[in-house]
């Protein structure tokens, strides 16, 4: 395993980052804004940034025989690893809702977003926003957490829009049950994956540039 990722997992990470992966189960809660599960997973990652700061992790990492960009890469690798693990769990629960539980009455009476590929695409968008707004903002100073407040606002606005989107006339198909409108659903999931990749990559590049310039 990459030494920097191992350092992130063994020394820097808070156990809450792993525990908060359980928020993926929220996908199964009927009548609940299921996208909040994605937010809670990022909240778990944020706890790792907090515990890392208390442990002087950034300075310790910068003292290791690695390039400064590797310090940034380590944080991104850990965050993306947790996000993809969360995405995988949410995918499993979404598939359960789409197949075994597709006939369940409680899910059909849902005024909010259904667990479907569009939902999974939006979880990736939320993760991408976390990487862009919080992690990208954090590396401007490597100690300030104020970008997390901005991320909370951006994340809940996005969650609000996504959860209510299907109520806009003509947009009902994004809230498909089971495997209905699967072509559109798959396209929306791919769109989410592309957004996640672009946001994460741009944020990583920007973070490497800003972190290189700051004094620790």
């Amino acid at each position: 395993m990459n030494a920097m990722l191992r350092k992130e997992m063994c020394l820097s990470a808070s156990v809450l980052s792993y525990i908060f992966l359980a928020a993926a189960v929220m996908t199964l809660i009927p009548g609940y804004p299921v996208l909040c599960g994605a937010f809670f997973i990022t909240l778990g990652i944020f706890h790792s940034f907090q515990s890392a700061r208390e442990a002087n992790d950034i300075v310790y990492s910068a003292l290791l025989p690695v390039a400064k960009s590797d310090v940034v890469k380590g944080k991104f690798m850990f965050s993306v690893m947790i996000e993809l693990a969360g995405f995988l769990l949410m995918t499993v629960f979404t598939l359960i809702r789409m197949t075994v539980l597709s006939g369940s009455e409680v899910y059909h009476k849902n005024a909010l977003m259904n667990a479907n590929p569009f939902f999974l695409g939006m979880t990736l968008v939320i993760f991408g926003l976390f990487n862009m707004v919080f992690i990208g903002g954090f590396f401007k100073t490597a100690y300030k957490f104020s970008p997390f407040v901005t991320y909370i606002i951006v994340a809940f606005l996005t969650i609000g829009v996504a959860e209510a989107f299907h109520h806009i006339p003509g947009c009902a198909d994004v809230n498909a049950f089971g495997f209905d409108h699967i072509g559109l659903q798959a396209a929306l999931l791919c769109g989410g994956a592309v957004m996640f990749t672009i946001l994460t990559f741009l944020s990583y590049k920007k973070s490497c540039r800003t972190f290189e310039k700051i004094d620790l």
Partner: protein, 239 residues
């Protein structure tokens, strides 16, 4: 032989300036880096570790500039401080197991030897260690990867006289084994015992760089200790 060299290093902050800082570290010697709190010692040390970006000047180790060779140079240097502890809630074993993966020349036998020598319990966490033991824990990692240069930022600050004495003895032994040490402190009495050279910084400027004996001869009056010389010089500069 010069193993590390700073040439005309400048760094400007809104309320402080490092002005043309130049000095060198001789191989196998202990260089005492003295100056009062706020004189610029830590900024210089952070510049030497590339934690702080200098505005101008050059920092070289082993004849190579730090800029562009940072990864290679950091394989050969070690850093310890008495003012910061890393990962207070992780065990020493966890910290070592992670750190060793970054160093090409990690020597597990040396690690065990120093662990025994320093009487460190690998199952303890830094938060459970005394200040002196924390410094030893950092030194253990530096020595296990075969650091040729040790940069020590106030390693004895906050230590009782007995722990300080223990560390002085250790630094002298390391010097005898060929390790080059930069020892930053404002407790000048620590340097009486072990330093070969003195670099004196005040208000961001190097005021003296010479052998300890020359420093005492040139700046001291009859029978003055290093601490008395330092105090007199600082008072003179203030007035």
């Amino acid at each position: 032989m010069k193993i590390a060299e700073l040439k005309n290093v400048c760094k400007t902050y809104p309320a402080f300036k490092l002005n043309n800082v130049s000095f060198s570290l001789e191989s196998g010697k202990i260089t005492g880096f003295i100056g009062r709190n706020g004189a610029g010692k830590t900024t210089v040390i952070k510049s030497m570790l590339n934690l702080v970006h200098t505005d101008s000047g050059e920092i070289c180790y082993f004849g190579k500039p730090l800029s562009g060779n940072e990864t290679e140079i950091k394989q050969r240097i070690g850093y310890s401080t008495g003012t910061v502890s890393w990962y207070p809630r992780k065990t020493i074993r966890q910290i070592i197991d992670t750190a060793k993966r970054f160093y090409k020349n990690w020597d597990e036998d040396a690690c065990r030897k120093y662990m025994q020598l320093f009487a460190l319990d690998e199952n303890k966490k830094p938060m459970e260690l005394s200040e002196g033991m924390k410094v030893k824990c950092n030194l253990l990692i530096a020595l296990s990867h075969g650091a040729e240069v040790l940069i020590l930022d106030e390693p004895t600050s906050g230590l009782d006289p007995f722990s300080r004495d223990e560390l002085m003895e250790l630094f002298t032994t390391l010097k005898e084994n060929g390790v080059t040490i930069l020892f930053s402190t404002h407790i000048t009495s620590d340097l009486e015992r072990c330093a070969d050279n003195i670099v004196y910084i005040s208000h961001g400027e190097i005021k003296a760089e010479c052998a300890k004996t020359d420093f005492i001869k040139n700046f001291g009056k009859e029978d003055e200790t290093l601490e008395e010389i330092f105090l007199r010089l600082e008072r003179k500069m203030r007035s």
